[in-house]
Symmetry: C2
Subunit: 407 residues, 2 copies
Amino acid sequence: TIDPERFRETFERYSEIGRTDADGLHRLALSEEDREVRDLFVSDLEDLGLEVRIDRIGNVFGRAEGTDPDAEPVLIGSHLDSQPYGGRFDGQLGVLSALETLRAFDDEDVEHRRPIEIVNWTNEEGSRFKPALMGSGAFTGELDLAEVLEHADADGVTVAEALDRIGYRGDQPVGPREEYHSSLELHVEQGPKLEDEGLSVGVVEGVFGMAWLEVVVHGDADHAGPSPMYSRKDALVAASDVVGAVRRLSNRFADDVVTTVGELEVEPGSINVIPSEVRFTVDVRSYDDGVVGDLVEAVEREVETACEREGVEYDLEEIWRIPHTEFSPRVAETALSAADDVGASHRAMVSGAGHDASYVNEITDTAMLFVPSVDGKTHNEAEFTEWADAEEGARVYVETVKRLADV
Amino acid sequence: TIDPERFRETFERYSEIGRTDADGLHRLALSEEDREVRDLFVSDLEDLGLEVRIDRIGNVFGRAEGTDPDAEPVLIGSHLDSQPYGGRFDGQLGVLSALETLRAFDDEDVEHRRPIEIVNWTNEEGSRFKPALMGSGAFTGELDLAEVLEHADADGVTVAEALDRIGYRGDQPVGPREEYHSSLELHVEQGPKLEDEGLSVGVVEGVFGMAWLEVVVHGDADHAGPSPMYSRKDALVAASDVVGAVRRLSNRFADDVVTTVGELEVEPGSINVIPSEVRFTVDVRSYDDGVVGDLVEAVEREVETACEREGVEYDLEEIWRIPHTEFSPRVAETALSAADDVGASHRAMVSGAGHDASYVNEITDTAMLFVPSVDGKTHNEAEFTEWADAEEGARVYVETVKRLADV
Ligand SMILES: NC(=O)NCCC(=O)O
Ligand SMILES: NC(=O)NCCC(=O)O
């Protein structure tokens, strides 16, 4: 069983790396802070006597051998990167629950028949480099490794260069070396449902489908004074129309639809100059993949209409699409019965946030555990999970891994 | 009379400093490029034997003594700073027309009773540092010198620091040392009227009133996936509503109203994060100062409505207001009759763009000459004026200055 004090101390120690003044976390994928936390993670794995390997996209694995060396391993873990000025729990709590599980087994020399592999996936957030779930997607073959290595951040630094800079372009091929038995990821819910119902644990049976679009509107720079209104081609007027339309699309097609414009940049960005170029992103989600397709088409129509109205040109690219996930009923049921046995209040649920577990589910039976997020808040420095809930989640996690790994 | 070849060569030489790949000009106020062009300007003034002085806000003056040392001087010139990725004509053509005027007088030892002062005003554009017309506004006392010296750019560098960095915080007090007789500024029109009517020269009798607002919308960062739509406080949704409303306000109150949102920045700017903060600017103009007041109030109401609708907070600040200008009929008539005598096609007009001449008009009788802008385009690398028009404008300029300076 877990050592609550050690678990919490470890969490505090990891949270120092990239901690913001407001107690959040700013630890973008493949940044200096990411290097530092990876170094700590590797040394913690080595202290446990695990065999550590790093693959060519920087995913970090540690392997605890089982009593049956031929058994298929169980894969556990999450991610250590954060959003810009994000929270300390998103990703990190899942990695550290997995670490605490292996430490707890080590404390009491627990024998597990199956090998257990712990993993820290590269660039789950998709904020500095797009798309999200990059390490797990490359690992499972759902994303093209050569292509994503060339994706650049806003400063033109590619994933490959960033990996080299922090010394985490490993030597291991990207992809499974063998069949896995199953996989389990713990994460904060990042939504309000568990808190609203006063529950400690969610057993996640599925994940929303989602699509990401990038739009560039090409207007024409001109003077805010002597340029008559009729002559203007204002890229920001068109883009703003789309932002409003994207918000309204959340009321279309299905009840569960969510739509967001998260990035928007204006060129040349001068108070008395009509904007010549606006680049913005659109994020649309629903559990129903058909609805996601409808949303993408609707966004395309809205962009076309708004740009035609303003007389401006545009480029639109769908940069990521991931279908909805249905996790393994077998693993979810194992988790549910573990939660029952631990005595944790729980419910089954689906996730509106994307997770590495979705890609992992393509290669092995996978499910997830959620713990509550206070006020449902995440991707925000104020992100918080009550420590009692984090511990309860870790207890259910340990219990589920025991069953999966044949203790 | 002017030397067209020298005039053009000088223009090309100045245009090299900060020239962009697309033949535009990127020479922000008090940047390295601004230092370089100032150095060239000072050396050109010294070559003409002028007494050069630089004041504490970096305005550069050169004085050509008149035959009557007690006569009030005539002030001529414009500005050498540019918009980000702006054009080569905006400001620079006015400074170089003034320089060519003094060179032409020097060529033929033209005797002028009145002293003539040529000036390059600091930070006319208002792009890197707000507000616009900073050097002339401080000189005439319309802007508070101590206050504007502390205004910072997007990187937090103040005007005072930037002046020190480029070595242009001069030792002269800011403000007129004596009464001026009159002032004349040549500039590109930056609008389509002269071109539409096939005219070479505009005699500017007035300038629009204008106001600049800065708005910061405070929302709440959260995840683009699991955050229910009802729970969102999306700063960008509210700001985009205002962008659309500002566009529609151009159809209110008066025919000549123009309204623009030129800057808009989103925090944290991550594809899967609900925007927590948006900062944007609003520029409203009309010849009627009452209409400018109505526009400011209307923008305030729109911001309040949009923010209330989204459940977000905001700060709104009016950062600049300048009433409309009525230039000196005496100087305008001098320019009109000079245009007649030179044989230049011309019309009287008002300007939608702000100019240093507006502030100068507060301390001495002032008017302006415009030359056409191809397609009315400006604040854009494609900004262009046919060379024949530039020369015609310079000829009228020389002829007007002759009359003002008592040749
Ligand atoms: N869990 C999480 O924050 N994932 C990031 C990918 C996304 O859902 O946008
Ligand atoms: N002429 C010119 O571009 N002035 C800048 C100030 C303004 O009108 O916005």
